[in-house]
Symmetry: C3
């Protein structure tokens, strides 16, 4: 791997920091979005949470499952399953010293694919739009993992 | 970003390593806690798991959902959704060379807020205690993300 | 902590990169495996996903929960809860400058335990095989966390 003192101030590392932060922030936004749907749909997971709404309806009935809330939660879960591997493998990939243009291509395609995935999941758009967005992200991360393995392989 | 050779041995990096390890260990403890509740409540997710208890009751009925187990699992899931973004963004934040006192403030507030969140979720405490603990953590991570983006922005 | 310029090109770092990438790739494979079970069992989470199968059966009935799909999903969730802490704590552990042989032992035991865990979960094997694989991974990560804390402790 390239010497880190030179790597860490490189444009590749700055680009990784930027795209990783943006897509992790996107993932974090799914929590308030779930909260918004829970409050507007009056569908909570815990009895004590029903006190957060000022509604005068029967609070016991508000501990229930709502399809819109579950949709946002599945989107969030898919983010966890895909964005965190991207961050881990992307960091190691950055330390292998890739070309700036190649690295930017990987980061931009991944972040773009996950933004499309969220839109396709929450609206929802007809399939296979979400499946394609998901696969694009998976292939991008796998491509970075391939470079890490051929560069750093030490078993 | 600051030169890493100087950063990595800095007090900010040591502080990040300490607080990140503590809060990730806390998150890992949720797994044994779930196991403890599954064993004591006799509520398992898999048929083969019922052999782990010496109870002579009907083992088929032990594959069931228990409210206490689900509460711990939701707490664990919320940890995954919030502690991992903290670790990712906190590492990049550490590399931007923040003041030690500012960095310590972020790390301590985040770790404190997540400890409060777990207590508020598992006991449970009345709302909005858990909501406030959750929001405090979210704002802390967002504040670090803001510094990463203004320091490293490279699109 | 050891000076990073020397650490990052060290064999410990290369070994960490290799094992972390392998086990994160394994975790990512759980997504296509879930998709495969959803398609073959005709059990989808979203109404729009039923268009991905060419089956002529009633598509409304395909939005359902299937035990095999849920088993793979629980395995994936357990991976998230254990592999990500390993990656975070393993990276910090690598930067504390451990012996190569000790580090390799940790990385190999962890990766091996998680491969056993997946086999034990998906087949499934009788308990306590899965419980032992899970505990082995937990103890390995905790051992690395202990070294991070005694090396870097800064509260």
């Amino acid at each position: 791997m390239a010497e880190l003192t030179h790597m860490i101030d490189s444009e590749v590392f700055l680009a990784f920091s930027t795209y990783a932060t943006i897509i992790v922030l996107k993932m974090m936004l799914m929590s308030p979005m779930t909260g918004y749907f829970r409050l507007t749909r009056k569908a909570f997971a815990n009895q004590e949470d029903t006190s957060l709404t000022s509604s005068t309806e029967d609070k016991k009935k508000m501990v229930r499952v709502d399809p819109d809330v579950e949709r946002v939660r599945r989107c969030h879960q898919n983010d966890l399953e895909n964005i965190i591997p991207f961050v881990v493998i992307g960091l190691l990939y950055t330390l292998t010293g890739p070309d700036l243009s190649t690295a930017l291509l990987h980061f931009r395609v991944f972040v773009g694919s996950r933004l499309c995935h969220t839109v396709a999941y929450v609206l929802p758009l007809p399939q296979p739009s979400r499946a394609l967005a998901f696969l694009t992200g998976l292939v991008t991360t796998s491509s970075m993992a391939y470079r890490v393995l051929i560069t750093a392989l030490y078993l």
